[in-house]
Amino acid sequence: MSPNPAWSRTLDQIFVLLQHRIADLFPPLLQPWVAMILGVVGIVAVFPAIFALTTVLERKGLGRMQNRLGPNRVGPFGILQPIADAIKSLTKEDIVPRSADAVVHYLAPVVLVVAIFLGYAVLPVGRNMQLLNIDAGILFFFAIGASTELSIFMAGWSSRNKYSLLGAMRAVAQMISYEVPLLLSAVVAIMMTGSLNPSRIVEAQGGFTGILPHWYVFTPWGFAGFVLFVIAALAETNRSPFDLPEGESELVAGYFTEYSGFKFALFFLGEYLGMMSIAGYGITLFLGGWGAPLSVLAFLPSWLWFFGKLFLAIFFFIWLRGTLPRLRQDQLMNFAWKFMLPMSLLDLFVAALWRFLGEWLGAGLGTEVVRWLVCGLLLAVTYVLFARVMLKRQKISPRSYRYAE
């Protein structure tokens, strides 16, 4: 890789330099703290801003997919819509049901948002741009991510409303079921890198062959792992088509039925931030993190690549939401345990095979061809077999009613 010119390196590190420059204004004892707080402020400012932009882009994008214009009243092309929404949700009455558990009801959205923000602490958004560089970063993220289930159940339970409780129970069942394939599909990337540190995982994908990058998604096991990760991430963040916990048609709004005003806005924020953080980790694990997609483009700053990929991921999520209808509960569970779990276990095995085939056969073009053929065929054949079994089960016949005739 050719070294980048000085201006490119400065631009790449501009936020890090800025952080150091501001921290230097303080006495040495305070400097680490100031630097830390600046990083936190950066995260707390940037990601909610992206959230605000995402809400309006989502509404416009969904509108376009349905041949509508989407919001276009507030500001040019409706771009100021999130500000209007924020003012509206801040000034709305905050209703707490009389029989609700007031403390838990109040705490649930706060716990959700805090847990999700904690997940950003170890996310590398650029070269050297990671708030907390800890070795067990990925583990930390998944542990924190699992605690959002607690806040969702707090919300559902404390509202004392059947729709809330049903929504929360669905959410918890779904999130726990998809936690397993999510973790197992992430494990392949960790296994191949040999580290739980997100920065190390990104650096391991940093090389180029010709102009193409060494992203994990460009390997058979990485591709399968990436697809499984995306599906599990959709379910984990309750995004369409896995948005059963808040299925409007049957559950009013699921676990946040009894929330109004700014608490509702916090749930909304939490949901989108969760989506963005899981997309960020998907990018880190499989799409080369902040690395450039082509070696000739490596002069552009790393954070630009990260946020570019993040926007693409968000666009893909919106696209899926505009396309797919909601699953049924039994389909959801069958899919998790009968397809996702076996496939992710197989993917682990394939990743191990890839690694050891490389060791046994030694480096060379022949090894690559053999590895690609063996691993690719193994995954493809299993997928086809699974697909045949899953589709065969469907018996489409006229609906029969047992009681209502």
Binding site: R64, M65, N67, R68, L69, W319, L324, M390
Partner: protein, 207 residues
């Protein structure tokens, strides 16, 4: 193949997404306050009172018979009948409503008041931009707000209004003919009486 349908669906939405930027015909929605679709003739929402002539209060067709008030299923009409009679637009002395209120927050637009009215005095309106910041007083329409001219009625429901006008005209002509016939009969009778009287009083005039 599992997942094939998802890819097809994604292609379809992508086509819509891209197409909506290229072709204007795809966008079927109407930008409401600036663009409006023409209303179909059978549009109806809330009732209004028809008046003839220029003066709304003098020309109200309503004679305060209170049939609509009694028939209204959600009971959104409130009428106070006058104690005196005033000449209506044809000059005949009639009762009139001193109060005629319709609570449009209660009205369910069923049109039963229109169907039961024997005087064609109440008809359905098409005005729908009725939002108000006063949800109690602002949604009760009194007779001044309800009164709208017959020409307005002809404008919003041309076919129906033409039919009503034709019927009213026919009735009017029938009444006139009847009155004329009665007057003629009375005149003829008076003439005959006069002749008979004349004959009785002057028998010697007969040859």
């Amino acid at each position: 193949m599992l997942g094939e349908g998802i890819l097809k669906g994604l292609a379809e939405t992508a086509k819509n997404f891209a197409g909506s930027f290229v072709s204007e015909e795809r966008l079927t929605t109407v930008e409401y306050p600036e663009q409006r679709l023409p209303q179909i003739e059978n549009t109806r929402d809330f009732p209004f009172l028809v008046y003839d002539g220029e003066d709304a209060m003098a020309g109200l067709r309503c004679v305060s018979c209170q049939i609509c008030e009694k028939e209204c299923p959600p009971k959104c009409i409130y009428i106070v009948k006058s104690t005196d009679k005033k000449p209506d637009y044809v000059g005949k002395a009639q009762f009139y409503p001193t109060r005629f209120d319709i609570d449009i927050s209660v009205c369910m637009s069923c049109q039963i008041c229109v169907e039961v009215c024997p005087f064609d005095a109440i008809k359905m309106d098409t005005e729908f931009e009725l939002s108000t910041s006063d949800r109690f007083g602002g949604l009760i329409l009194d007779k001044h707000k309800l009164a709208k001219s017959n020409s307005y009625y002809q404008k919003i429901h041309p076919t129906e209004a033409a039919e009503v006008d034709g019927r009213l005209e026919e009735e009017k002509q029938k009444l006139e003919a009847k009155a004329k016939a009665a007057a003629e009969a009375a005149a003829a009778k008076a003439a005959a009486d006069a002749a008979a009287k004349a004959a009785a009083t002057t028998p010697e005039a007969q040859p």
